[in-house]
Amino acid sequence: MAPSAGLSLKPQHFEEALASPADGVWFEVHPENYLVEGGPRLAWLEAIRARHPVALHGVALSLAAAARPDPGHLRRLGALVDRMQPALVSEHLAWSMWRGAYHPDLLPFPRTSEALARIADNVGRVQDALQRPIAIENPSHYLAIDGHEWDEIDFLAALARRTGCRLLLDVNNVFVSARNLGLSAEAYLDAFPGALVDEVHLAGHSADPALGPALLVDSHDAPVDPAVWALYERLIARIGARPTLIERDDNLPGFGALLAERERAQAVLRAPLQEAA
């Protein structure tokens, strides 16, 4: 996929997305919402796919669980990938399925060598089933977890080395995690292996309703924060243009407002593209 900017696609915006003439625009969806047997949702996604590149951004393969990915879920995901031929497939460094129950969130874990071996096995299984590499996203952190044996970037790089997977760098997650854990977002981004990055995510966050700005939540319910834009510009200046998504899941504005944010990312991407030309 060309390194242009795309948008999360929600059913409320199907008509406008389908008709969007924006140059190089692409759309990303959570495949879990499309793992159905038929009906208008799938028909809409196929119509979008016929005009624009589509990326599938999974939230539920639960790669960091001490268990294999659910075979039924993986089979349905494989069928959707076959049908939609997405430009990119991505997932999270997190778990959510555990002992037959789905916890609709992206849950954390201690980055141990045991976890790395388990996740590498799971990523390998998914890539074998889908017959393509997937990109793994860096998580948002809220908790200080004891017993990490690995630094997160080293962990992601080792995962990529072992499995051939790619990485999805979510700049908002880096900002939120750095704030919550008292780390440097700049240092994290500067150390991230740019050659492995297939996609970048930008999203809005919000202060926790109970704890206030001391705890930022990766809520995807607001425009991208100015501080995150600054980090994004710094990243792209270092690693070059990458497909970039404006991610919005909640408190959905009109399609025009999202397109305007997308245009801003597109402008950042144009600078290194022009340099390369």
Partner: protein, 278 residues
């Protein structure tokens, strides 16, 4: 012999598994301090930020239920609905991540839910919301044209098996006007707000094309569809409808069902073997 090639087999759960068992328990515990968590997880659950995970998991479940049961939510109000949904979710986390399918047995939960005892129609309304979801996500299927059915000779018609459409769901509610209550809450814009006649009602919810539609059915029509779904012939289905109501106008019933897109696959059975000369 050295031990170099012997793989040590251990049945002790790994650290990651123990972590996830504890974390999953802490997510749903009413009181984390009293849940007897392992120290590693207890230290996490004691951090104020742990509430982000607890809240996100519950909000994800409750939002999904509210999206899947909008008529129930409108009837009881958002606050009551979300409180009931939280009780359901705590005991019934989703079994898989396609949340459009979450809460398949929410109607049964409401039927047994003591605070809903004075709303005896609530479970029926939930059942119709579930019908809507199932119709919306069912396999696509082109209904047979009315003309294809009209072309059948009377003898062939009797031997035809018309299977209900892949998206078709129907129910007869003997004692309550569930369909009217459901319709007024599922499609509130412009809904008639006149007094509701307290009587039995039936409905077919189906998606013959792009949109989910519904038509009211009487008990005989529901019996007819029931026979069709058991792969019985139209002759048998007609007998089932007549057994419910001897006054059933079969031509009208068929026309209504065909017009609604109630049918999918059509089969013409061969003559009964005993009718064949040997």
């Amino acid at each position: 012999m050295t031990g170099a090639h012997i793989t040590r087999v251990t049945h002790a759960p790994g650290r990651l598994q123990r972590f996830q068992d504890g974390f999953a328990r802490a997510l749903l515990a009413e009181d984390c301090a009293a849940a007897g968590l392992a120290p590693e997880v207890a230290r996490l659950a004691a951090q104020p930020a742990f509430a982000v995970y607890r809240n996100t998991v519950m909000k994800g479940c409750i939002d999904a239920l509210q999206a899947n049961y909008p008529s129930v939510a409108r009837l009881v109000g958002e606050e009551w609905f979300r409180a009931a949904a939280a009780i359901y979710a705590r005991a019934n986390l989703p079994r898989h991540p396609t949340l459009a399918d979450y809460g398949a047995d929410f109607a049964d939960f409401l039927a047994a839910f003591a605070p809903a005892a004075d709303l005896p129609y609530l479970a029926g309304v939930a059942r119709l919301d579930r019908f809507w979801t199932e119709a919306h996500t069912a396999r696509d299927e082109a209904p047979p044209g009315v003309a294809a059915v009209a072309r059948l000779a009377p003898g062939e018609l009797a031997r035809t098996v018309l299977r209900p459409h892949a998206s078709a769901r129907w129910a007869w509610f003997d004692a309550q006007p569930i369909v009217t209550i459901w319709r007024r809450n599922r499609y509130p814009e412009g809904a008639d707000d006149g007094e509701i006649a307290w009587r039995g009602e039936g409905v077919l919810v189906v998606r013959p094309g792009a949109a989910v539609e519904h038509v009211e059915l009487d008990a005989a029509a529901c019996a007819f569809l029931e026979a069709c779904s058991a792969s019985r012939t139209l002759a048998d289905a007609a007998a089932a409808a007549l057994a419910v109501s001897a006054e059933t106008d079969l031509a009208r019933l068929m026309a209504r069902l065909l017009d609604a897109g109630a049918f999918g696959h059509m089969d013409l059975l061969p003559h009964e073997p005993e009718e064949c000369p040997r």
